[in-house]
Structures are given as structure tokens and as C-alpha cells.
Amino acid sequence: MLAKHTQSKTLLWLGRQLFNRENPAAFFDPLLERLNPMWVQAYTPARVEQVLEETSDTKTFVLRPADRWQGFEAGQHVNICAEVGGIRRTRTFSLSGSPILWQEQGLITLTIKRLAGGLVTNWLHDHLRIGAILGLGDAFGDFLIPEPAKPVLFIAGGSGITPILSQLETMPASDYAAPVTLLYFVRTPNDVIGEEKLRALAAHWSTLTLTIIYTHERATPRYLSEQDLETVPGIKAREVYLCGPKGLMDLANDLLHKQGISERNIHSTFFSAPQADLGDQALGGLVQFARSDVEVSSEGDANILQIAEAAGLSPRYGCRMGICHQCSCRKTSGTVINRLTGQTSGAGEESIQLCVSVPRGPISIDA
């Protein structure tokens, strides 16, 4: 074990000397990619094995990650990286399949809904075919099934069902003993994601109570109400899991507090839905400099370099006019506007020039 470790350390050192890079294996990637894209070392590749239509605007992509991928637990997310128009775009999605599928067949699934104006989700729907390769990050997130088993209430809205699908499939396999209730809100019967799976689970798993509620079937929308919660037996003793659009999450939090359920027992997760277009050009927002652990609010009248300096940081810079790229930094989330080009960046992880970028809403910077 130790020998192997030292050996790989020596190899790594040698690789650095010879190829001038932290990840020497990636030196060969441009050629490996041609031979077999699954051999690429710079990121973990995953091949699309199947594409399933869930609803008119939702597809499930079945992926086979390269063997070295670390696996995941039900309820977690991954970052995927797709090259859209020559640009690598990273987005977070929850894993909708059960970890058992991964363990047994080496497959994972992502269930992705088209977002209006969404650059990546639409591209995935329109261009991702069987055989294509995506980059895959490690799974993360703590939206995890309680252990030991406790009564659970899931409240899901729309595509917020995806991490819960993974959990619901995992629980019976481990003989989950406590009662489980799912309140699933969708606009119309056509919008139910994973309906067959859910019905099959409910048929075979006696402690699962499945309630699908259509919000937009009638003239007046029907949202989560107190009555819905009152139908859940022993609600006070339940661990509650929330996933869905912000409106539903806020409403659910309110109602749950009224029921006397404590914050500690409520687990919620935001994912997939990257902020839809703000429409207007509202500039400014909370700027988080992750490495320095500094957070400042900004008004949109200063570029990020100035914001950082005003906050006492000293990022690297040169020309301060957008030509030398000395100030380039990784933005890990949020959107910025490039003052030089007037262009709006994507929402995911990418490189930006601090001296010409202005935040548009909250952002975090790896500096």
C-alpha cells in the first residue's frame, strides 16, 4: 500500500518535471480523447447510454461514468460539464437513480427539465445523443435519507422530485421500516416525472403513501395547504425533505413551522434551477471571495477588482483595462457582465477578468 503510494508520488513528481503540469496524465488527453474518450484523465468522463423521455420537457439521461468515479448516496448532486459552442459549461443536477443501479450496473441517471432560456438544459435536450461524453464531478450534498430509519415526509414540486426519486428507490431496498409519505406537486397530469416508477413503488411498498397533486388543473391553482399536512399521520415525528421551486419551499417552510416542526427536522435542497434570466440589467449583489472567506455587498458601480480591493484583498492585476488577463479568476457561481463586451456570463463555474466584470446578482469568486 505504502509502496504503491510512494511509487505514484514519484511518478507524479516525474510527470511534473517532464510535462510541467499538476496532472501529467492529462498531457496525453488530446490523443487519448481520439482513441477512446473514456480514457481522458483531466476530468471523469461519462458516456450517454440511453435517453428516456419523461414528459414533454423532461428527459432522463442514463450515463456510464469511467470506473474511477467515486459513486454517490441517494439524494446527492453532481456537477456535469458539457461543451456548448466551444465553451465548457458546468451545471449541477441531482442524481435521479438509485445508488444500487450504480453498484450493480455502473450506471447513473440524471433527470433534467428544459428551462425557459436555459443554455445548458436546452442543449442537453437537443444535442446530447447516445454515445456522447460528458464530464462528471464527484457527488456532493447532504440531502440524505435518515439513519436509522425514521418516519419521513417528502414534499416535492416539479423537477424537484429527482433527488427524491433516488431516495425512494433506495429505501425499500434496505427494508426501510418507518412510514414514508410523498406529496408531489405538478402542474398537470402530463407533468409527472417518473410516474411509472412512483406507482410501482407505491404498489409494492406498503408503508409508502403517494399523493400527486395537480396545481393547475382548475381555474384557480391549488397549492400546498394546511389540510395536506394534516392528512399526514404523525407529522410531528417526521423528518421532512423539501425540494422544488422556491415558492413551494417557502410556503412549505411556513406551514411546517405552524405545525410545530422544528428547523432541525426540515431538510431542503436547491439545485438544478439556475436563476432564470433576470430580464433587467440589475447590477450588483453579494460578492463572496471564497478562498479569503470575505463577503461584501456591491452596488454595481464597481468592477470586482475594485470591490475586492475595497474589501482589503489584493488580487493580482496588471493593466486594469482588460487586456492582460493578469486578473483572471475562477467564478464558481453567479452571473457577471463584462464591461468591455457587454456580454453576460453563464451561471456556472468559469474564468472571468476581475477588472472588467461587474456582478449581476450574488456571485462567488475563487480568490
Binding site: N20, R21, A26, C324, Q326
Partner: protein, 363 residues
């Protein structure tokens, strides 16, 4: 420097920005495919060169292996390294092609290059006293510097600089001339020197220790071939770079005239301080498109393979503003560089005497 009014400067700025915006709006798959293809080409050449080298005991193979490795290094340094480190492909969001993390196959440490080249040279292009790339603080190339007897030997300096170019570039940030003048102390440069020795050590280890060692029976051949490849790269890249700013018509500027300059003024300086040379597709590729030095200096962070496409537009902007667009054949431009190096090695009196005699002959 050409006299222009503020209105003319802002007109110039607008015209050039328009060219830039058009390219930026069009960046995409084509550019990604291009740079990936070049990276693949580099890997193929480098791996073949290294693989062939031990068989260099056969003379034609030696030549082929050395040339292949030399060309690999040239492509990596010029079309990939230099351009990636300018941020030309940052928008692709590919960590392997990112300006801040790329480390190239030459002695000069990436971070040092980013400071001295991307920032200093590209911001203060050809401003005597601020752009240390002008003559590399080693050669006297304009009247702005006073003649000294040592300058008469500068052609030898030039040859040495070309042969050991990667080491010269690597040491550039040492600012030895300022240390000599006592403006800074060697101690101030310790962090730089540490990085220099680390990177230089790596480069020397790879070419002069590791690869000869793993092919021990033919080590001298591999050593010679690797040295040859480095030499080819050094001579070519120094020549390309000298042709970019030291030709006859490339202008220099004084600090005073660039004080508080506008963007339009900066553009004018880039246009008139740089010079192109013409050639075939391969010449452009091997020079990292620095054969389009003018375009590169005006738009240092646009993907270089776009320069040939926009050159016509830049030329027409120059025509409209009556700005000289400096270009010519490689031989002609290089000839004027050599002439400049020799001419300025002479005391001013001798030089003007010679030049007028020369002019007299021509008429």
C-alpha cells in the same frame, strides 16, 4: 508619434473596438476545434520526436527527430503557450487552456512571463524606459539610449541572445541592468530566482538528464538531438520576436508622450510600434501568428488564428486614419532588424555618416 486630436483618437478606438466586438461575438466551436487540433498536432510531434531520437544514431533519423522535436517545441511555445497565456482561449473555460495556469515548455516561468510580457510589454509597448522588451535591456536599438563603447559589440550579444534565447527570456525579470545600476538588490529578486531555478531546472533535467538517461546506450545522441531541438526553437522564436518590434519602421515612444493616454492613444501605439511579416500558412502557424504582430498587439487576447481574417479590416482602419501599417516579406523585415542592430552599435556620428553616404549612393 503621429499627432492626432482627441476626436480622432476616439474615432480610432471606436473603429478598432468594432472589429474586436465582431470577433468576440463569433467566438465558438470553430476556435475550440482549431486550438484542440493544434494541441493534438503538438502532442503527436513531441511524442514522435522523442520516440525517434534514440534511433538518431542513423544520421537522417537524427535530423528528422531533432527537427520534429524542434518544431513541436516551436508550436507549443508560439501557437499554444504564448497565445493561451494571453487569455485567448480563457472563454472556453477549459482548465488545460487557461491563461493563469498554463505552463509552457520553455525555461521562462509562466508567472514571470505573465508579469513581464502580458502586463509590462503589452501595456507599455515600445515605451523606452518602461517596456523592457525593447532591446531586452541588452541591445541599443534607438537614439533614446546614449551610445557607449560596449554597444559596438552588440551584434555578438545579439547572436548569444538568440542562441540562448529561452534562458534570456527566463532571466528577463531579474532586471540585471537595474541591479548593476544599484536601483534594486539581488535579494529583492529571490522569489523570482527561486521560480527561475525551479523551472529552468525542470527544463534542463528533462532534455539533458532524463531522456538521455533512459536511453543510456545512445545518450550522447539524445542529448545532442534535444539540444539541437532547443536551439532550433531558440533561433526561430527570437527571430520572430525581433521582427515584431525592431524593424526599421517600428516606432518607439517616450514616457512623457504616453502619460495618461487614452485607449485610442494606446491603440495607435500598438499599431505603429509593431510590425508584421508575410508568408505562407506554415510561417504563420510556426510564428504563433506573431507574423501578425500588429493585430496581436491591438487585440492580444483574441485567438491568434483569427488575425489573418481581420488583417484586411485593421489595414483599412489604418488607411482611413492615415496610420502606417508596417509589413513586408520575412526576409525584408529581418534584414531591417539586422541593420538596426548593427547601425545602433555604432556611435551616432559614424552611423549618420554611413547612412547619408548610403542614401547618396541610392540617389
Amino acid at each position: 508619434m503621429k499627432k492626432m486630436t482627441e476626436a480622432q483618437f476616439s474615432e480610432l478606438e471606436k473603429d478598432l473596438n468594432a472589429i474586436r466586438d465582431e470577433v468576440v461575438a463569433d467566438l465558438g466551436e470553430r476556435d475550440a476545434r482549431y486550438i484542440r487540433r493544434i494541441v493534438r498536432l503538438h502532442r503527436t510531434l513531441e511524442i514522435s520526436g522523442r520516440a525517434m531520437m534514440p534511433f538518431g544514431i542513423i544520421p537522417p533519423v537524427f535530423i528528422a527527430a531533432t527537427a520534429t522535436l524542434g518544431i513541436a517545441k516551436i508550436i507549443e511555445n508560439m501557437e499554444i503557450g504564448h497565445n493561451v497565456m494571453h487569455g485567448q482561449y480563457d472563454w472556453m473555460n477549459d482548465p488545460g487552456l487557461h491563461s493563469q495556469t498554463y505552463e509552457w515548455d520553455t525555461v521562462c516561468d509562466g508567472d514571470s512571463w505573465r508579469r513581464t510580457h502580458n502586463y509590462e510589454h503589452h501595456t507599455y509597448t515600445n515605451i523606452i524606459g518602461k517596456d523592457r522588451d525593447y532591446g531586452y535591456a541588452l541591445l541599443r536599438l534607438s537614439d533614446d539610449e546614449k551610445w557607449q563603447p560596449l554597444h559596438s559589440l552588440q551584434f555578438i550579444n545579439y547572436i548569444l541572445l538568440s542562441v540562448f534565447f529561452q534562458w534570456g527570456v527566463g532571466l528577463h525579470e531579474l532586471e540585471s541592468e537595474r541591479i548593476r545600476r544599484g536601483e534594486i538588490r539581488l535579494r529583492d529578486k529571490l522569489p523570482f530566482l527561486r521560480a527561475f531555478f525551479r523551472k529552468g531546472g525542470r527544463q534542463a533535467f528533462k532534455d539533458y538528464v532524463f531522456f538521455p538517461l533512459v536511453t543510456l546506450p545512445v545518450a550522447p545522441v539524445v542529448l545532442a538531438g534535444n539540444a539541437g531541438a532547443n536551439l532550433i526553437r531558440n533561433l526561430w522564436s527570437s527571430t520572430v520576436i525581433f521582427c515584431g518590434h525592431f524593424t526599421q519602421d517600428a516606432e518607439t515612444f517616450s514616457e512623457a508622450e504616453c502619460e495618461g493616454e487614452s485607449k485610442g492613444h494606446w491603440y495607435l501605439r500598438q499599431l505603429t510600434g509593431s510590425s508584421n511579416f508575410t508568408g505562407g500558412k506554415w510561417v504563420h502557424l510556426l510564428s504563433g501568428h506573431l507574423s501578425y504582430q500588429v493585430e496581436h498587439h491591438v487585440f492580444p487576447d483574441l485567438p491568434a488564428h483569427r488575425y489573418p481574417e481581420i488583417s484586411e479590416k485593421v489595414q483599412s482602419v489604418c488607411r482611413n486614419h492615415d496610420i502606417q501599417y508596417n509589413t513586408g516579406s520575412f526576409a525584408r523585415q529581418y534584414g531591417t532588424v539586422l541593420k538596426r542592430i548593427i547601425a545602433y552599435s555604432l556611435p551616432d556620428r559614424v552611423r549618420s555618416g554611413l547612412l547619408s553616404a548610403h542614401a547618396g549612393q541610392a540617389t
